[in-house]
């Protein structure tokens, strides 16, 4: 079974940028556009790793992160955001985020986070790197 990855961002552009750095053929990918959808997709899809934006309509990433980590403390949630204030970083760490990445995402950082959370993707990530260079 392929590792499951969930991208949560209200911006189609941001989702596109992130998809470009993912080994798409080796993962089962789903997307959500706000925190509320993130929670329902998380329950239904049980992703191995989730990329989560913070600034979103309907429900922001802070609340989604808090709820998901409350129900699933083992979840691996990588916060991908443009909000780089120190207090934001401290807050998401306190809420249990697995990692924090700054937007726009760099391929090496996305790959590093993926490999750390889902080591079985090592081969796919290397192949993806070869393909894009």
């Amino acid at each position: 079974m392929k590792p499951r990855v969930l991208i949560v961002d209200d911006s189609a552009t941001a989702r596109l940028f992130l998809r470009r750095h993912l080994p798409l053929e080796s993962i089962d990918l789903r997307e959500a556009t706000n925190g509320q959808e993130a929670i329902s997709q998380f329950e239904e899809f049980s992703p191995d790793i989730m990329f989560l934006d913070l600034t979103m309509p309907i429900m922001d990433g802070f609340e989604a992160l808090e709820r998901i980590m409350g129900d699933h403390p083992e979840a691996k949630v990588i916060v991908l955001t443009s909000d780089v204030q120190q207090r934001t970083i401290e807050r998401i760490r306190a809420l249990g985020a697995y990692r924090f990445l700054k937007k726009p995402p760099r391929e090496s950082e996305v790959h590093g986070a993926l490999l750390s959370a889902v080591p079985q993707l090592a081969g796919a990530v290397d192949a993806d790197k070869d393909h894009t260079t």
Binding site: S11, T13, T81, D83
Partner: protein, 209 residues
């Protein structure tokens, strides 16, 4: 006038989102404040409708404190930062933490105006700067000016917009958590800049990897 596509609108919102996040972090370094950000929204509107547009988006716009700054270059336009009345006094208290000296009323008014301009300068400059850097474009700025919201109408009337002009507006809402300070930032690009902005967005979308 060619309307912007959904893809271009989304790309501009994302660029703005990244830029404003950086601007907030820069301001947080100057004053000990955490800024809550709302997702920005992009709209294409008739230039002559800007005043109505601002009025729709800011309650009591005539009484708002406004900082206006024009920019020139690859993107010609103007930025408006609007705060509810009385904000400048609360902003001043942020800058004066630990230095609570009382001032004469005229000095106080001057300080309040200065602090409003300073906060606006950081937010607009950092936001536009980051945005232009992402888009690999360049603008220069005219000095920011503080004014009352009821003068916006005159300012926009004098801006030389015609009935055929359309502008891209980008608006976002921010709030200084625990400090009862919030405001709205609007960027308005003149129609002749739309081609440049569109081209830059396409390069950003297709060149980024």
């Amino acid at each position: 006038m060619n309307p912007i596509t959904d893809e271009e609108r989304d790309a501009l919102q994302e660029v703005m989102n990244i830029s404003f996040g950086q601007a907030a972090a820069q301001l947080a370094e100057v004053i000990d404040v955490f800024i809550r950000l709302e997702a920005p929204e992009v709209e294409l509107i008739p230039a002559l409708g800007i005043v109505d547009y601002l009025a729709r988006n800011v309650s009591g716009v005539a009484k708002a404190q406004c900082v206006h700054q024009e920019f020139r270059g690859d993107g010609d336009g103007m930025a408006f930062l609007l705060f509810p009345p009385g904000t400048e006094r609360r902003l001043l208290s942020l800058f004066q933490a630990g230095n609570e000296d009382r001032h004469e009323s005229d000095i106080l008014l001057e300080l309040e105006s200065e602090v409003l301009l300073e906060v606006a300068n950081i937010l607009i400059g950092a936001c536009m700067g980051q945005m232009m850097q992402l888009l690999d474009r360049h603008v220069t700025y005219l000095p920011p000016r503080a004014m009352a919201g009821d003068r916006l109408s005159d300012l926009l009337s004098d801006a030389g917009f015609t009935q055929d002009d359309y502008t891209i507006t980008v608006r976002t809402h921010f709030q200084f958590e625990d400090r009862a300070v919030s405001g709205r930032l609007f960027l308005v690009y003149r129609e002749h800049s739309l081609g440049n902005i569109r081209e830059a967005l396409h390069e950003f979308l297709h060149g980024y990897a």
